[in-house]
């Protein structure tokens, strides 16, 4: 399933400074594995050693937060757009 991937901020560094590129996978989890094969170190930007996504990483499938879909098991179809954004947060 070819999908368009968009990444922001520092995550662009591990994908050769690209903002957008094409990859594939049947699910979000598989997509992350495939991107990690091509760009080693990609997965550790998003998840811990057990594969659990960081609390502060946001992944959107066509503008829907995957936390409200099926998380890493969310299925992908041709032409989907997956966006990966580190949170922007702070506090007093």
């Amino acid at each position: 399933m070819p999908v368009k991937v968009l990444v922001t901020s520092v995550i662009q560094k591990v994908v050769d400074n690209q903002r957008a590129f094409t990859s594939e996978g049947r699910t979000i989890g598989e997509l992350i594995s495939n991107i990690d094969s091509r760009y080693p170190g990609f997965r550790e930007q998003l998840a811990d050693e057990q594969g659990v996504l960081h609390r502060f990483v946001n992944i959107y499938l066509n503008d829907e937060d995957i936390r409200y879909l099926k998380g890493a098991d969310t299925e992908l179809t041709d032409g989907d757009e997956v966006s990966i954004l580190p949170a922007l947060a702070g506090g007093a």
Binding site: H54, F56, A89, G90, A92
Partner: protein
């Protein structure tokens, strides 16, 4: 030195007031390096002590910058009762993964602007957060 139009400063201060009692947050966009607009982003944390920018709005602003040739000049947020100075949480969250201060910061070229409502008139100050968690103030020049 960050040159910021008075209209942008006023927009950030006005946003900070309107979102009381919670912290307000947003982005300042630039065109050809010149700051021209403060854009409000929803604080999903809805807290007087924390902010977390709504990711979908962040995504839409990222697309806008790409489409319109704009850049991210500053990330701003308010402190409702503390100084206009990055807190330890602000510094930790300027790195990815959070707290990895020996990495390059997430937005090395972008100013972090703090609006403090502790004072009247409010204090507005700009900073760079550097590798190692070093905070460097960048005095704002207000322009028309």
């Amino acid at each position: 030195m960050p040159r910021i139009p008075s209209s942008v400063i006023e927009a950030m201060v006005s946003h900070a007031h309107q979102d009381l009692p919670n912290e307000a947050c947003g982005m300042v966009h630039a065109r050809d390096g010149v700051a021209f607009e403060a854009i409000r982003v929803k604080n999903d944390a809805a807290s007087p002590f924390r902010y977390e920018m709504n990711p979908l709005q962040m995504l839409k602003l990222d697309r806008r910058r790409e489409d319109e040739g704009e850049s991210l000049f500053a990330i701003y947020h308010s402190h409702v009762a503390s100084e206009a100075y990055p807190s330890p949480t602000d510094v930790r969250m300027a790195f990815w993964p959070p707290g990895e201060i020996d990495n390059e910061p997430m937005f090395p070229e972008t100013y972090y602007v703090l609006v403090s409502l502790k004072y009247d008139p409010p204090a507005v100050r700009a900073f760079h957060i550097r590798m190692g968690g070093v905070i460097e103030e960048e005095p704002i020049e207000v322009v028309d």
